[in-house]
Amino acid sequence: MEMEIAPVILPATLDALSRLGQYVKDASEKAGLDRQAAYNLRLAVDEIATNIIVHGYEEAGLTGDILVQGKLNDGEITIAVEDSGTPFDPLAKKLPTEEDLARPLEERPIGGLGIYLVLKGVDKFAYERSGNRNRNIFTMKRRLPGNGGN
């Protein structure tokens, strides 16, 4: 059975990140995610939303909103984040390698760390561009009693 969590529309400003985080925390609680999984999901959404706000809107001289919508079914929770900022496919970004991550801090590349944390933290991540909208979709498996723990 699928359940939609009431969506929220937030201004695309960094000040909105805490409200966005609260939305994801509430959704994770409804889904029964454990502490680490809930944190990873919140972190992933925070990282992508930060990119949207900074690169998709502010650096492009745009203002706008971010629409956030959670959905639950028996096996998964998904959080979709939509915006009308400039097109940005996180999956096209070059990520740090294991070698980069093992380098001393003073030699580390700065970029790509946020998206690396997104991809490491969630069970599935997808990006879609439809019309003038970006849509980022985060999925976590629900490890509920009775579904085999997977």
Binding site: L14, R35, N40, L43, T50, E98, L105, L113, G114
Partner: protein, 107 residues
């Protein structure tokens, strides 16, 4: 808990106590604290993470900035990091470059 970063410099050791949620909206505040710490030319930077509840990559980038600003001879200690925040540090490889400890010697 709102984010805060409090600096104390004791015997050449810059100690920064972080509380709350460190995301991109407050990373600038953390960076300013690191700049104040760097101005004191410390021999060591000790960051207390005991009450840090959330750490985004914007906060990790300030750690990289701290190392680059203070120089390779200033070791960074992260104290009291636990749970998901510790997991984030490890996932992003920071455990290779900072000293992760439960407590700091003279506290």
């Amino acid at each position: 808990m709102p984010f805060s970063a409090q600096l104390a410099v004791v015997d050449g050791v810059a100690k920064v106590t972080l509380k709350g949620e460190l995301d991109a909206s407050v990373a600038g505040q953390f960076k300013e604290t690191i700049e104040q710490a760097a101005a004191e030319k410390p021999r060591r930077l000790v960051l207390y993470f005991n009450e840090l509840e959330f750490l985004a990559s914007a906060g990790l980038r300030v750690l990289i900035f701290a190392k680059q600003k203070m120089g390779i001879n200033v070791d960074i200690y992260v104290i009291g990091s636990q749970g998901p925040v510790l997991a984030t540090l490890e996932m992003s490889g920071f455990h290779h470059s900072v000293y992760l400890q439960d407590t700091y010697g003279d506290d």
